[in-house]
Symmetry: C2
Subunit: 359 residues, 2 copies
Amino acid sequence: MTLADVARASGFSTSTVSIVLNEAPLSRYVAAKTKEHIRKKADQLGYHPDALARSLSLRHSHTIGVLVFDISDPFCMSLLRGIERTLYPTPYLPIIMDADNRPEQFERYLDMLIGRRVEGLILVANWLFAEIDTLSKIEKNKIPITSVGRDLSVRSVRSVVVDNEAGGYAAIQHLYGLGHRKIAILRGPQAMEDSLRRWRGIQRFAAEVGLQLDPRLTVQLPSLMDPVSGFEGGMQLTAELVERNLPFSAILAFDDLTALGAIRALWAAGRRVPEDCSVIGFDDVPHAALTSPAITTIRQPLLEMGALAARLVLDAIKPSRRDSAQQGFVHLMQPELVQRDSARRLTIGRTSKSLSRKS
Amino acid sequence: MTLADVARASGFSTSTVSIVLNEAPLSRYVAAKTKEHIRKKADQLGYHPDALARSLSLRHSHTIGVLVFDISDPFCMSLLRGIERTLYPTPYLPIIMDADNRPEQFERYLDMLIGRRVEGLILVANWLFAEIDTLSKIEKNKIPITSVGRDLSVRSVRSVVVDNEAGGYAAIQHLYGLGHRKIAILRGPQAMEDSLRRWRGIQRFAAEVGLQLDPRLTVQLPSLMDPVSGFEGGMQLTAELVERNLPFSAILAFDDLTALGAIRALWAAGRRVPEDCSVIGFDDVPHAALTSPAITTIRQPLLEMGALAARLVLDAIKPSRRDSAQQGFVHLMQPELVQRDSARRLTIGRTSKSLSRKS
DNA sequence: TTGTACGCGTTATCAA
DNA sequence: TTGATAACGCGTACAA
């Protein structure tokens, strides 16, 4: 079904049909019954304008590429929702691609997205990805890029990330406020900047209140990992901690998955959460609220972050902006403590040996 | 950067450039140094062929639409992965759209997908969706459709679904084998066919072994719900069960989210899983393995289901097939019991009042 | 108020 | 070996 088909069937020319169907300005001058007739014919023929041909003619595709590094990471879901919802009322269509954790796939999809002439690009970079130089291709093509979840502002891309330092600070502050002093810290992989930032926040708080962080209780997730292995990592690290028999009454985990792993290890060792040990996570992925106990965590405003990322590309696409000054700007979102059931006030005189004797 | 630009820069015609860059058959006759030269020029200009124009010319888009009804449902992630991985080595590009649980959005995206001339369509219909007549549009357009996760075979669409009856059967069989007799059953919403099928499997097993299903222990999730409310529903139903003080030693939940809700209610009531009550889920969504206790469940082979769905559309797209006979065929996938920690053998003489006295 | 003709970037056909 | 030209389906000046 092409425009020509509709034109032939309705007895008018393609231009008239096009004008009517698009409600173009000129359609003001088209007779009402002509419009009626054309619309009916089009409908009855099941005509759908060819978006490809239209894009070609109009010289813009009305699409925004959304490149996700790992769609199975629960972290992404809310981000995608935020993007989706922001784009929905606009004429822009998000095209979601999943790189399945593989850099080559990422590159290939990037190429395809460029080939499809996306007008903007949102990178959902939840996890590490090696400095992919492929981005320079995009930069050359002058396609506005926004990265969400990871700071890529070194290049010419705008980034939307959570304030990791504030998050780390809030996490330890909460635990401290609950009376915990012997706190095990499960840091993220070395290579991850998020991890470093959170750690800085933790240290800052500790310094402010004079809390001593026992280096033996501060451990680090291995470097090369995919998101799920955050669970494995948290579990293993915690198991080792338990094994070493160091006293601790709380665990500050790198993220929710790590926290889940920690809880599993605790559970396996017969320690209850939160009775015997408090645990705090980071991110607030959707299912953090669904476990028992529900995870107390530092919430990244994922929905809002996705929405902001979408708005940023949208803004950058509009030609009538001098936002170019904002190139590479980092938007820091404020995290928020979500109190649930996995962390509680340290009670005195409980039997568990995991309790601190100090307080 | 267009083909014409490269042609101009390299001093050859667009045809030659096109032939060389596509490694078309004719390129066998092009001088090696010409190829070299053209390739270098193209590369250095950062030329990316315009997929839209190419599609227009070739009369096929090499895209497959993937319409997800709710991308935030963990159920979808593995399905998407399966689709993704199957399509990756082919020239077909999956275009993922998320309807965000809203029928209007579903319809709009369906239209856009048709407009973009997708050559096939995969419906990831995890949750209920009202008989959307919009599908008839697609049927008119002769685009092959495959539905995964939900049986839509009434129409001309091939469906890939798990054998729900076998799953229900396996679930109760497992619980029964563990010694449980007083089993609470959290059935899915009335309107959902999956639920009915699973229930049939349960009844069949019960009849075979002469197990009496206490009607008071068989409850049903409310009808209008989005996926997360499966959690709410499971929690509420279980809380009511506990409240009514009926003895039961195991819960057979409609799906994993429902199971999570049940566990939460049990947890809130001070009953431990699996010590005081066993729980079995359905689906094996990614995080069923990450809770403590990890959920024993009936696994849907989601990855394989996604892969099969993708292969089905791929097959249907190939013109040289007489698969049309397979229109509307349902592919039943076999579920599999995954034993983890939320269900265990009923031990005799435990203190909990929730135990069955019979066995 | 409606029709004609051209261009968007590619590929395919045919000629040279 | 390479180049000109006609589609592909659509929007839009421009003409009528």
